[in-house]
Symmetry: C2
């Protein structure tokens, strides 16, 4: 019945493991049938010429894993292991071609994406120094999951920083750290009733629009005038949440003037149950103009949820963002998410704390503001030189992108296809038109990001763009 | 009308900024009324005894930010800025006491938590070395957001690894990286219809149960027998998704025998539309017993979603987990989440790639298996010495925790309160009983984690536990 040999010279496997393995295979393949009695340990040991101990160990592991069972004074028996049902008889587990990922060959591409940061200037050395402090000082915290809102120390540091830079009035308690604005908005909205009404800017941040639609909320895409989102539309919709980007409207670049800010705050205060989500995603970059105070800093009625990110100021790949919740929402958030695990890596968060605390963050910001200002100027200059009358740039000196209008008979589809062909990564306004297609006119608008382009690449990028807009 | 002075000796503020600031304040406080004409630039320059340039710069910034507007040939006028509505007249923005976080003084505490890893053994030096490679080789990827499922290279490395260690049959395409099992399960479930039926183990992973309940699904908590989740219950509920922890049931520690695995796979195959989520959260730790093959590796009908994590093997604070989706689910996932941004920090992910690739991960696993095995043995020995007949330990040599039953007249509430008093972090079975309270018996069960306790702390921990269970 049982027939196999043990290789005593095999140094890499114990003898008991060989016995275990052979018996297991026999049972799985039903060569040893269910309920069959196994040989007594002593007998098997003799047959195989091994010690009883080896057999005992093998039997114990088989019991542990459920292949055999002992019966008192009777011995060991094979479990009744049901056979597999095979539906997929081909046994072909390869994924089909439509799911295969094509290798993205980025060789030769130039990026005018608005979603990047300039990594060539990132102070990795100082970042790693801060990380060393984090490792040294926070061993215990790093061995655990953190507070659902993120480590208190890090929240404190962020609270102090945004008080100074953005006038945000808050305590560490009110800060919720997350891996991005998108997941933070989802967390917040997951707590709301199904019939919650939300308004977003149009054109606007399409990922947020998609998310909220997907969550089945009643989402309105509200048009803009030259000051930002239209107040009369907001008043007539009277949403429970209004998601806006006042410091540098995405993607149009409008800086919402103080008058519109106050109008919106007054609407939220009167409406009482409404909140404004202020996504301050790139307010840190202003070239030669001061920041207008954040909505949150002007709010006296706790109607504003402020949200910020380190994706633009540090790196998008770090995935560190935060929201500042007014007390009522904070209370609800805590109740709702006491079991929710913070998703941002604490090592990165404590590193951020030391990076800010040591002054490196402020230094980096200063350097990057200067650096981006120069790149922006150069790019705009080159674009104007090349396109002359055929370009109109909305020249708002802020952020890491601008909107430019081009005279062309080409459609958005044609422009997008041609850009791929020219190996130029660039996004068109169409992507951010939320519930309508752009009107057919003799112009198209492009969102031009300048964060990751090198100064030496600018001339080539503008040449490619010229061919994209003017190909025949 | 306008009256303020400029301090020319102030080195830290430009003169134009002082003018800008004074005018802005005047406008906001309505000392300068709406629609009032500002002085001509030349005149204000004379009055303040500054250059015209300074006034021009100040006016330009005020226009930019919307405080004043120019009228051609007429001059500059103050915007009509609505006054704020103040609901909260006290102006008191301090958060109330119920929201304040008490400082957690961990001084003197000993932890028998099941949620930690032993950071004293973590090879930070090698981790930082891998991070250096990541920084050096992936600059471009680090300046961007990554693929929604995580960087391909990292998914490839994980796919290779789990093929070897867990027999998981998959391609890199099928892997979705996430910041934890909880958010991965949420992503997956968010795609499902409202009437989706889900079954989970009881006792079981309460965070997942809470999440699924919160998402308004029809969730059943299914009892266990000695082989794990009961098949007849599963067959009668016939859930669309079954969430289980076969390699080391959480929290009871049951290793699901091969016979039960096959029964469940057969159920899923017959049911056709049902999936099993196999949460393989700590399968890497087995002491003197081999791993039973993962459900996914036995499945021939693509009914298993495998999920794994680096929270136990590396650190919970890293927030790196992953799920392996069968092709049909993958297709749906891609459609649903093309706009979703990967939440795991790419620097950490590329670091993980090099850490695995260089063999450091395997070395670390070997070291930790040995280290945890010793701690586990010592702790169990001490517990048995101290409690004698009053303890029954479910001694399954696997994972980073075990379940122990204590004879005591105390209630769970009493035990939990006394543990806090003794500064002993430990969790009771009650926390993992999903929809029922534990029966009143003369025993209680504790989930005893041994990952973060030092060998030198074991005696003291057991003393405290003795006082917790036997106080009078």
């Amino acid at each position: 019945m049982i027939f196999f040999k043990v290789n005593k010279n095999n140094k890499s496997t114990h003898i008991y493991q060989q016995i275990y393995h052979e018996l297991k295979q026999g049972i799985l393949e039903q060569r040893i049938p269910a309920n069959e009695k196994l040989p007594a340990k002593r007998k098997l040991a003799q047959t195989l010429d091994v010690s009883i101990n080896s057999v005992t160990n093998a039997y114990e592991q088989l019991i542990e894993e459920g292949y055999i069972y002992p019966m008192e004074r009777k011995g060991y028996f094979v479990e009744n292991i049901t056979q597999f049902n095979h539906h997929n008889d081909t046994g072909n587990l390869k994924i089909s071609n439509d799911l295969k990922e094509k290798e993205l060959n980025r060789e030769g591409w130039i990026s005018l994406s608005h979603m990047t940061a300039d990594i060539s200037m990132f102070p990795f050395k100082e970042w790693v120094k801060s990380q060393n402090k984090a490792i040294k000082n926070h061993k215990e915290e790093l061995s655990e999951i953190s507070h659902p809102q993120g480590p208190y120390l890090v929240r404190q540091t962020i609270a102090h920083m945004i008080a100074v830079t953005r006038g945000v009035v808050c305590e560490a308690e009110q800060i919720v750290i997350g891996t991005g604005t998108q997941p933070l908005v989802r967390q917040l909205m997951q707590m709301q009733k199904n019939n919650t009404k939300i308004a977003v800017e149009n054109p606007g941040y399409s990922r947020i629009y998609t998310l909220l639609k997907d969550m089945q909320f009643d989402v309105s895409a509200v048009p803009l005038d030259k000051k930002g989102v239209k107040v009369d539309s907001i008043e007539s919709i009277n949403p429970d949440f209004l998601f806006i980007t006042p410091s540098h409207q995405f993607p149009t670049g409008i800086i919402m003037p103080i008058s519109r800010r106050i109008e919106l705050l007054n609407w939220a205060a009167l409406s009482q149950n409404s909140y404004i989500i202020e996504d301050d995603y790139d307010s840190e970059f202003k070239y030669g103009t001061d920041n207008i105070p954040s909505l949150q800093s002007l709010d006296r009625n706790q109607r504003v949820i402020y949200s910020g990110t380190f994706s633009k100021t540090l790196l998008p790949s770090l995935r560190i963002s935060y929201a500042v919740l007014p007390p009522d929402l904070l209370r609800a958030y805590r109740r709702h998410y006491e079991d929710w695990i913070q998703g941002s890596n604490s090592l990165g968060l404590f590193t951020l704390h030391y990076f800010i605390d040591s002054g490196e963050y402020a230094k980096h910001m200063k350097r990057m503001n200067h650096h981006y200002e120069i790149k922006r100027k150069n790019l705009i200059k080159e674009l104007r030189l090349q396109f002359k009358e055929a370009i109109h740039i909305k020249d708002v000196p802020a952020g890491l992108h601008f909107l430019a209008q081009f005279k062309t008979e080409k459609s958005y589809e044609e422009i997008e296809a041609k850009a791929r062909q020219e190996k130029l990564e660039i996004y068109t306004l169409r992507r951010f038109m939320l519930d309508d297609e752009p009107a057919e006119t003799s112009t198209i608008e492009l969102v031009i990001g300048f964060a990751s382009i090198g100064n030496e690449e600018i001339a080539e990028a503008v040449d490619r763009l010229y061919r994209v807009v003017n190909f025949s």
